[in-house]
Symmetry: D3
Subunit: 253 residues, 6 copies
C-alpha cells in the first residue's frame, strides 16, 4: 500500500476510482472494509541513489520514440540537436504533495521517468511533504544512496545497518537546514514529529534509484508471497499474516 502521486496528480486518494498502476491508492472498497484505525498507508519514498554507468556524451535526453517495445539499460535518447533547455528543467516539484492520506505524507518524484533530462546523468530528486505526524515508512532504494535536506519542520529519521553490523539503528531528529545521508540499500524512514507541516528534498545517486516500501513488498506482493514463508519469517501465525496481507494486498489490487 502506497501513496505516490505522480507530479501533476492531485486527486484525493479516498475517492479516486481510476487507480493507476504506479499510484496504488486506497480504493473505496478497501476503506469500507477496514476500520479507519488501520487505514494507514505506506508512502513510497521517492528517494534513492545509485551508481549509474557514466555518460558517453554531453547530453542524452530520454525518449520513448522506439515504438517496437524494445528497451535498453536506461533509456533511449533523442537526437541531441533536438534537445532544448526545457528538457533540463523539471517543474513537477513546485506544488506540495497531497498529504490527505492515512500515512500523512506524499513523495513526488523527479526520476528519469518524470524528468527525461536526467538520463545518463546518475542523479535524481524527490520532494517529500509531511502533514503533522506524517510518515515516510520503512523502505530501501535498490540502486541508490539518499541525501536529504529539511526545508521546513522537524523530522525523526533513521536507517538500520545490515546483519553484519548487527541491525543497528542510527537515528536523529532533524531541524530546518539539516542534512542526513541514508547509505545505499539500507532500510530507512522519516517521521514528522513536529506540530506543523514539514518539507524535505532528497537527492538520490541514480537516475532511477527505485523504491521498495517494505510493508508493500512483503505483505502486498502480487500475487502474495506464500503464507508459509511469511509465518516462518515473522514468527507469527497465519491469522496475523492474513490480516497484514489484507491491508496491503487488497489495496494494491
Amino acid at each position: 500500500m502506497q501513496v505516490l502521486t505522480p507530479p501533476s496528480s492531485h486527486s484525493s486518494p479516498c475517492n479516486n476510482k481510476n487507480l493507476q498502476s504506479r499510484s496504488y491508492l486506497l480504493s473505496t472498497a478497501t476503506m469500507k472494509f477496514l476500520p479507519i484505525s488501520f487505514l494507514i498507508l505506506a508512502l513510497a519514498s521517492a528517494i534513492a541513489l545509485a551508481y549509474d554507468p557514466s555518460p558517453l556524451q554531453d547530453i542524452c535526453v530520454a525518449t520513448n520514440d522506439l515504438e517496437s517495445g524494445v528497451f535498453v539499460n536506461g533509456k533511449f535518447c533523442k537526437d541531441p540537436k533536438q534537445a532544448t533547455a526545457d528538457d533540463f528543467l523539471f517543474m513537477g516539484l513546485r506544488k506540495p504533495g497531497n498529504t490527505s492520506n492515512p500515512l500523512g505524507s506524499q513523495v513526488t518524484q523527479a526520476f528519469v521517468d518524470q524528468f527525461p533530462g536526467l538520463n545518463t546523468l546518475g542523479i535524481s530528486m524527490a520532494r517529500i511533504d509531511f502533514a503533522p505526524g506524517g510518515l515516510n515508512p520503512p523502505h530501501t532504494h535498490p540502486r541508490g544512496t539518499e541525501l536529504l535536506v529539511v526545508v521546513e519542520g522537524t523530522l525523526l529519521v533513521g536507517f538500520v545497518t545490515s546483519n553484519q553490523l548487527n541491525n543497528t539503528l542510527f537515528t536523529k531528529v532533524l531541524y530546518k537546514g539539516d542534512v542526513f545521508v541514508f547509505p545505499i540499500g539500507l532500510i530507512h524512514f522519516q517521521l514528522n514529529i513536529g506540530n506543523t507541516y514539514a518539507l524535505a528534498f532528497s537527492s538520490l545517486s541514480s537516475q532511477n534509484p527505485g523504491v521498495i516500501t517494505i510493508a508493500n513488498s512483503v505483505f502486498g506482493a502480487k500475487p502474495p508471497i506464500s503464507a508459509e514463508v511469511l509465518t516462518k519469517a515473522f514468527q507469527v501465525d497465519k491469522k496475523v499474516v492474513d490480516y497484514l496481507e489484507a491491508q496491503f494486498w487488497y489495496d494494491n489490487n
Copy 2:
C-alpha cells in the same frame, strides 16, 4: 533474529553460551521465554551481489595488519609477494550448515571477511543448507545480485519488484541443477518445499554484498525503531508491534 554460523562453528544454537556479535544465535534464555511455536528464526541470507570498483593489480589479499583502527573502502591488502595459493582457497563451505534451528536453514558465507583472497575481485559465495521445510526468509542484499544453483532438493524461490513495477512477485519451483537470479536490492526468499534436505550455492556480485533480513532489520533493530513508525507503516496496533519486536529484539540482545 538470525542464525548465521561462521564457517568453522558447529555449535548447536540451543546451548551456545558465547554469542558472537555476528552469530546471533538463540540464547537458551530466549528459548525459555518464548513458546516453542514462535521459535522461528530468520536466517540471514548470505547471498548478495554488488558492483564493486575494479581491481588495480592482479591480487590484493585482505589483511588486518594496520593496527591503528583505520579502515578503507574495502580492505587493506598484504604484500602480493607474501600471498600464497592458500589465500585463494576457502574450505569453509565443505561442511553442511547446522539447520537445527527454528527456520530450518543455515547460510554459510564465503564473503571477504571469511575469504580474504576475494578482496578487490567483486564476487563472493554462500552455501545454503535447508532441512525439509527450511526457509531462508525475505531479505535483500544492498550491494549485490544473487545467482543461485540448486545442488540438492526442491526449492520455492521468489523476488518482488520495486514499487515502480507494482511489487510483482516472480516465483518458481527449482529442481536440482536449476539456476535462478535475484536482481540487486530486491526482496527475495527460498523455501525448501521438498521432503528431503536441500542444498544450494549462491554467487553474489560483490566481495561484501551485505544481507538485510527484513524481519530482523525492521523488528529487531537495536535500539528498536519507534513504535509510531512501525504501527503506521504496517497498519497494526502497538500490541502487534510489541509482539513482533519481542521475537526479534530480545533474541538479538
Copy 3:
C-alpha cells in the same frame, strides 16, 4: 578570486585577516587597490556530481587518524563500530551564507571534507544563498553532475555544451520548486534575477565533486599562467590580461 565560507565560518570577507588557504577571501589590501566597481568576487560553486567507486561496506565514515601524511583515493575511515548517528548528520547548512561580498552570493558545501559520513557514498550537497543580483559565476565540477532545486526566489541558470555540440547555451529562469540539471563537467552559472534573496540546494554525484571557478582558475592561477598563453587564448593584448590577472591573482594571495 572566490568567496567560499566554510560552514562554520561567518566572518566578513572584507575584514578577515586570517585567510585560510581554502577560503580565498578578499584581503583588505586588495580592496584598497581596486576600484569598488571591480570588486566582484567569483563565488566558488559548491556544486558538483561525480561517478564515484561503489561502497564495499554499509558505512565508512571518513577519518584523518592516519598521522603519517599518507592518503588514499577518497578517505580513510574509522572503525564502523565507532560510528554514531551524528556521523550521518550535517548541521552546517542551517545558516544562510554571508552574501555581503562583491558577487552577492555564498556557497556552503556539504562535501566529504565537511561531512565525513558521505565517504564512499557517491553524493554531496551545497546550499547557495544569493542577495538580489547575486551570481554564482561560471564554473565546472570535474567529478560530478549537479541537480539544483530552488527553495526561494528566481534564478537565471544555464550551461554550455562542449565544442562537439557547438558551445550551445541551455538557459532557463527557475522559480520556487523548480529543478534543473547541469551535466558533469560542463560550464554553468546561476544568477539571482529577482528583487529578493534567493536560496537553492544542489546535490552532486560525488562525495568530492570539486569546483573550478573559471575566472579564478584561468586568471588567478598560482603562479599565473604565462601571459603568452592567455593573450593568444582570449585574443586580447597583454594589458587586458594583466588587468584581469590583477583582479584574481592578487586577491588570491
Copy 4:
C-alpha cells in the same frame, strides 16, 4: 579446438556433422586425420567474471526483437511488463555435460546468450563436468573473475600471475565443497585428478565474461596468426608451429 556444448545440445562430439559456429566440435574428418593420442580437445571454460555497468532498472530481460541488425553494449531488453518468472530461471545446467571427448570435460554456460534474465545484472554461471583425468585447459576470461565450487570429485586448479608478479603459479588441490577464486584476466585451468567423475559450478562477474582458450586462440585463430609471429614467440621452428596449428586450426574449420 574446443568442446562447448550449448545447454540443450547433447549430440556426441564424435559423430556430429552439423557443427555450429559456437560449438567447435571435433569433426570426424579431424578424427581420422589425427592419431588418437592427439585428440585432446581444449575445453572452453565457461567461466569468467567481469565488472559490468550497473543496472538502471529492476529488470531488463534480453531480447533479440530489434530486427535491423543493430546492437548495443550488452543486449536490448523486452518490456518489463512482459517479463515472467520463467525469464529468471535457467534449466540448462540440469544435465551433465558430455565428457566423451579428448579433453574429457565439458563446460555448459549460463551466460546472457543462454539465460536472457541475466542482462544488466553483472553475473553469470557455468557447470563443468569432468571425466576422470578430464581437463578444462588454460584459458582466460577477458571480462570477469571466476569463483569455483567443487560439488563432486577432486580437482587440481591453478592460475598464473601476470609478468609484473613474475608469472607465479598459484595451485591447489580442491575437494568437495572447496571454493577457489581466479582473478580477472589471468590464465587458469582445472584438472580432474581423482579416479571419479567431478563436477564444479563457477560463477563469473559479468553477464558475458567471455572465454579465451589459449591453445585455440593462439594456434587455432582463423585465419592463422603469421608463422613468423608464432615461431619467434614460442622459440620453436616452423614445423612445430605447423604441427600445433594443424591440431587446432583444422578442427575449428
Copy 5:
C-alpha cells in the same frame, strides 16, 4: 572560436566558405572585421579521458544504422559478425594538421565519432600539431584524463587544480619523448615554445571525452551568456565583455 579540422579536411581556414557545425573555422568576414592582432583562435583540444562503462562483449563497432533518430548512451553497434579489421584501424592521424591559423596549432581527433571501432572500449586519441609559438588554448575534458607524449619539439604545458587545492598551476617544459598527465576535468593547455614545429599524441580515457575550450564556451556560447553574468564573473565592464564576445561569438556563427 576553434580550429578543429576533421581528420580528412585540409582546407585553409581562411577561405573555407562551407563551415560545418563542428569545424568553427574563422570566416573571411570575421577576418576583415578584426585587426590581425586579434585573430587568435582558440584551438579545440582533442584530448579528453573518461571513465566509460565497461564493454559487455569483445567488440561493438559503432554504427548509425538506426534511422529513426533514436540514440543510446554511447553508440549503436553493427553485428559483430560483420566487423572487419578495418574497423579497428584509423588512418586519419597520418597527416599533420593544418596550423596556418591564428592559434598556430591543430588538433585532429580519433574519437568514436571518427573511429567507430573505439565504441565501448573506453579510450581515444588525438594528434596535436604546433607551428612555432602555436597554442592549444586552455580547455577541459568533461569526461576524461589526458596523457600526452611529445614526439617532436618542445612544449610548455600546464594544468590548474580546482578551488579546493587553491587553483595551483602545475607547469613543465616537455622535450621529445616526455609524457605528461592532465587529470580529468582540470583546465590545461600546451604551448610550443621551441623554434620548430612540434607534434604530440594524446590518449584520453573515454571513447568520447569531449572538449570545452574555455574562451569559446564562455565568450562564444550560442546564444551568448548574459552580459550581467560575464561582467560580474570576470570583474570587467560591459565593453570588455562585448569585445571578447565579438571575437568568439561572431566567428562561431
Copy 6:
C-alpha cells in the same frame, strides 16, 4: 621469458648478472645451454588498458611511505599539498629501448609503478621499440584496452577474438601515423615487417593494466604448470612440453 627493461636500465640482457625479479633477462647460463636459434625472447608488452575506479580528488600521487607492508587497491598517495609538477611528468620514455635481444623489441612502461602521478587517473602508456623483424609476442592485458599509434616504421598487428566469436584474427599492416585498438583482455601482437627500426606508443585504459605474455605464462610459470595439463591442452607429447618449458622456465629462474 621476457625482456622488460625498466625505464632507466640499459644493461645488455646477455651479460646482466643481477637479474631483478621483474626483468627476467636471459642469463648467460641459459644462453650457453640453448642453441642460438632458440634464443628468442618473449617481450613483455607494456600495453594494457583497464576500467579503473574513478578518482575522488584532483590528484593522488602514488607513494610508498607506509612502511608496514600494508597495501590498498591501487596505491597510497602523498599529501596533495606536497605534490609538484615533476610528479606529473615522466621522462623515462625519452630513450629508445634496447632491442639487442632475441625478440628484437623492447617495451618501456609508463605505468603507475614507474610514473606515480598516474595514480587514480585510469590511464598509462608504453613505448615499444622494434628492430627490423622485431616482435612484441602474443600477450593480453588483464585490466585494459590498448590504443597504439605508429610513429616510425611498418607493423603487422593483430588480435584474436574470444571463443564466442570463433577465435577470429583481425589483422592489419600499420604505417606511420596509423592507430589501432586492441580490445581489453584479447590476445594480440605486433611485428615489425619493415626493413627499418620501428617505434610505437601505446596508451592503456588503466594505471596498471598488467601484461601476460602467453608463452611465459603458460610455459614459464614458476613453478611450472603440470605436464599433464600442458600436454592435454596443446595436444603434444611431454617431450615437446619439456622443450618449450625449458626455453621459458629456465630463463626466468
